[in-house]
């Protein structure tokens, strides 16, 4: 790649928002990332601890006055406050680009908005819970965050876009099948969870470069746990499925190497161990006896642990 192509590609990435000017400048100036990270982390932790305390305060305050206030005030102090916090967060993020203070306000807003919109719905509802209005409301919030994220490009907005998008998928499917029991709900939701888990992993691959890098590990962790738990629920009583599940977990291990993902390596190893324990308890404990089974199981776990550490050292450490 010649210099011209390199610069063109870099300009393209800055323009598309997948990398910020600050990140390029940091890389060029060779700033000590660790030092800067620890500084930002402490500040960020304080900001977010403060945010959680504020949020708890808001929840207690709302609970105290809930029965004494009317519908308008209820909606105002939940949805209204959430929207104000988000807008304030967006303004602060623009003005104080280097500080996480804007993100903290967006975080508080993001937690209040879905709950607030449910309050709005319940104030107008007739008492019977139907899926469609809830699904549409969460769908609108998802779109709201998607548009905000597209224009503002920050990980908190992406986080809430993904969260609301996930809730929207579950709710939409619930609304589609409401009153039409074509599917077994548990099975269908297991498949939905597997699909969403897979989507999270693909998203995390997309996010490894750019402004959403901080979300990569959480997407991989939550996505893989969701996928493995849901997949296990579908193979629990099928012998062929239980064998297939080993291959799924093996594929997860390979994927963790390909994606250089410690989170995926961790979850794949843990689920592999759990599956070995499950299979041993179900098929071998009675025939071999628990003492022998435990010895074999212990050796398998040691082997898996060793293998996992070696994979981490060899392929994932950068």
């Amino acid at each position: 790649m010649d210099n011209k192509t390199l610069l063109q590609e870099l300009s393209g990435k800055i323009a598309s928002g997948s990398i910020s000017r600050g990140e390029v400048m940091d890389a060029i100036s060779g700033r000590e990332e660790k030092k800067s990270m620890s500084h930002v982390s402490l500040m960020t932790i304080l900001y977010f601890v403060g945010a959680v305390i504020v949020l708890i305060g808001i929840i207690f305050f709302i609970a105290q006055v809930w029965n004494d206030i009317g519908a308008f005030v209820r909606v105002s102090i939940t949805l209204g406050l959430g929207l104000i916090m988000t807008m304030l967060g967006l303004m602060l993020a623009k003005e104080k680009e280097k500080h996480a203070i804007g993100l903290v306000f967006q975080f508080i807003g993001g937690l209040l908005i879905p709950g607030g919109s449910m309050v709005l719905l319940s104030e107008f509802s007739t008492g019977v819970v139907h899926m469609w209005p809830i699904a549409i409301t969460i769908g609108i919030i998802f779109l709201f965050y998607l548009i905000l994220d597209f224009t503002q490009k920050n990980p908190v907005l992406t986080f809430f876009a993904i969260g609301n998008g996930t809730a929207f998928i579950y709710l939409l499917i619930g609304a589609i099948i409401e009153g039409r029991p074509t599917f077994k709900y548990d099975d269908l939701y297991a498949y939905v969870t597997m699909i969403i888990g897979a989507s999270y992993l693909v998203l995390s691959h997309n996010f490894r470069i750019g402004w959403n890098r901080s979300l990569v590990w959480i997407l991989q962790l939550v996505g893989s746990i969701g996928f493995y738990v849901a997949a296990f629920s579908q193979v629990e009583n099928i012998f062929a499925g239980q064998i297939l599940y080993f291959f799924v977990l093996g594929a997860g291990l390979f994927l963790s190497i390909y994606m250089k993902s410690k989170a995926l390596l961790l979850t794949s190893t843990i689920f592999l161990i759990v599956h070995f324990v499950y299979i041993t308890g179900r098929y071998f404990a009675d025939s071999l006896g628990w003492p022998i089974s435990l010895i074999v199981l212990g050796l398998i776990i040691i082997g898996l642990g060793y293998g996992s550490v070696e994979v981490n050292k060899k392929y994932l450490k950068r």
Partner: protein, 190 residues
Amino acid sequence: MNKFIKNNLSLIVAFSLPIALILVVVVATYSPFSSVETGYNFIYSSCDNGTGGYSYGCLDHMKALFSVRDDKLVMNKINPNKDSDRDNIPDIEENYHVRIFLHDTEKNESREVKFEEAKNYKIISDTITSPDGVNVSGKYDRGPEVFPIIDTHSSYDYYLTKGKGRKKLNLINRDSRYYYRDNFRFIGWL
């Protein structure tokens, strides 16, 4: 366009997976292939005890009251000592109010008919399976639950079923609202 797809392939895949699943669910739920049609209508009865609430002796009373003989609906005399719900009040004094309905399967709607009209119908079959292989079957639907906070109401409804196909029947009875489901008695296909 190609460049856009190439640059955002993983993003497109991440969004496509749930969209594809939703499409599959929509097709499977609303597809005419999953629906069930029959060329026959049927009659059924429902019952209440006049209080507007449920009475679990109703089904036994309906069973004793109606039967099909020589392809016709007949009303039987109730044994004056019969006490379906064992509450020491004979059924004939229970104030059970039984209604007969004709269900049009094409329009999926029911209308009440008097016994005098119903007794003239030719009942082809009094089994729950129609001559063209469609069943009338009840199913408890606990409703979709999404997360611990959203739980829609459960119901017990009746469906036309054939193989994996299922079509909800709009009946006039109260079974969908009560745990005990004795307020529907299928009589026969016309």
